[in-house]
Amino acid sequence: MTRTLRRRLAAFLHRHAGVRLSLLLSAPMLWLGVAYLGALAALLVSALWSTDTFTGNLVKEVTWVNFQELLTVEVYRTIALRSVGVAAAVTLIDLVIAFPMAFAMAKLAPPRAQRWLVIAVLTPLWASYLVKAYAWRVMLSADGVLGWGYGLTATIVTLSYLWLPYMILPIYAGLERLPNSLLEAAGDLGARGGRTFRTVVWPLAFPAVIAGSVFTFSLSLGDYITVKIVGGRSQLIGNVVYDNIGAANNLPFAAAVATVPVLIMLVYLAAVRRTGALENL
């Protein structure tokens, strides 16, 4: 009895691809499409609400006051610009360190060593984010190995350290796909290292660089933990969001601030979309 039922169900599913598809998509779409997107949409809507200054209760009326405050108050503009500056600095530092490393890995190292070098770069990714930030806190502390102290520079250094592998790996993958024959051809035609780099390597590796920068930029932009650990008293966008959720209990304003990194990332993604880098992610 149950056997025939099972066979009939199997046959039914086999014949009806649409039913199969809806069953496959049902739970994931309920979870991510309805619950998660719904939560994001609700957050966006609440950015248009406000809180009563006396009672701290939500006032569910549409107002642009949060965005007005965000744009007009000097402090928030400074913090937003500082966050973008930190993200850009981290991306630049990582690029300068990662490109020669990836090039040496992909084009100079013998094939057997390549596998081990990739593992060597990958391994620290599995070490906890918090542990790595902590390691820099210990090293940067006044009586630590480096002893530079905390602050914005410490934040940039630590973030660059944290996201370096995310820059190395895409560039390495991009350079590995670049045929050696192109480099040899450039050499045969008389180009030296610098010229080959400018006219052959860099243009072809550029999408990979962009792919890496998406990681380093967006990961730096949303960070508030590292700033708390090594940043001393400096603040980034993430800290403003965090403080407004926690201490100030002002969800609408926090939601409005949280749209800033999302908007910046969307602009960034739209700008780099034309390079074709996003297919590399």
């Binding site: 991510l32 994001l40 949280a258």
Partner: protein
């Protein structure tokens, strides 16, 4: 390629220097876990196993570790089911909005963690609290599963792309129904992809702190939350450092497993 000798030397030196920069901080943490000095004065004056013993006996560390394992297992289990389902839907069917669905899967890790964190926090408090479900282990698992789906999805999708459908068609031609085919053909083909994806999902969950901050109630403390809370307490510093050192040592395990998985695959084919 015409690379001058200095250019070659510079590239090699950057590679060596970069790898040194990657590993030195981790080694410093490992060394400091044996540092006899409570404030990690450098260079270490002497070495001791005292802190390892203290960390081993710390109930705070043990509870946090157990909480993290539970949350990781729960999130991984959900991610395995949801990620596999979406991967099959995307790879084996073509439908309107397929690109949107694949984008939706990536969204939770593409957005800054704090955005996902406060969105979920807000949703949980407005939707679940009227039913008497407060923030706690359940909400942590839900939050983690949301961003873990993508790792399983990526691994299963890559595997499905490579294997194709011919073996399943052969199984159907030989008279096996859809369930038997799944059990005897499809699942065994995907097993190592599921393992790799699950491993990544667990690691992602085990390490996560931002979404966790916003989805854990007062009672739930995962290991990252415990570390972060004790990071700024000078008298806890040695124990925090030991936990950090232990996590660094443990991070070799997934790398080893991943290598075994990919190595085993190569030998069976």
């Amino acid at each position: 390629m015409n690379l001058s000798r200095t250019a070659r030397a510079t590239l090699w030196a950057t590679l060596a220097g970069g790898l040194a920069v990657i590993y030195v901080p981790l080694l410093v943490v490992l060394l400091n876990s044996f540092n006899a000095d409570r404030t990690f004065g450098w260079p270490p004056a002497g070495f001791t196993l005292r802190w390892w013993e203290a960390a081993w006996n710390s109930t705070g560390v043990r509870d946090a570790l157990w909480t993290s394992i539970q949350a990781g297992l729960g999130a991984t289990a959900i991610a395995l089911v949801l990620g596999t389902m979406v991967a099959f839907a995307i790879q084996r069917h073509s439908f309107f909005g397929r690109d949107a669905v694949s984008l939706l899967i990536i969204l939770p890790i593409a957005l800054p963690g704090i955005v996902t964190g406060i969105a979920l926090n807000n949703a949980f408090r407005t939707v679940l609290e009227p039913f008497g479900v407060g923030l706690g282990m359940f909400t942590v698992i839900v939050g983690h599963a949301t961003f873990c789906v993508v790792t399983v999805y990526n691994n299963v999708l890559a595997r499905l792309r490579r294997t194709g459908t011919s073996l399943e068609e052969a199984s159907a031609d030989l008279g096996a129904d859809a369930f038997t085919t799944f059990r005897l053909v499809t699942f065994p083909m995907m097993r190592s992809a599921l393992l790799a994806g699950g491993l990544l999902a667990f690691a992602l969950s085990f390490d996560e702190i931002i979404v966790t901050t916003f989805t854990a109630g007062a009672g739930v403390k995962t290991l990252p939350l415990w570390i972060f809370e004790n990071l700024f307490r000078p008298n806890q510093a040695p124990v925090v450092n030991v936990v950090a050192a232990a996590l660094i040592v443990l991070s070799v395990v997934p790398i080893y497993l991943a290598q075994r998985l990919s190595g085993g695959e190569a030998s069976t084919r």
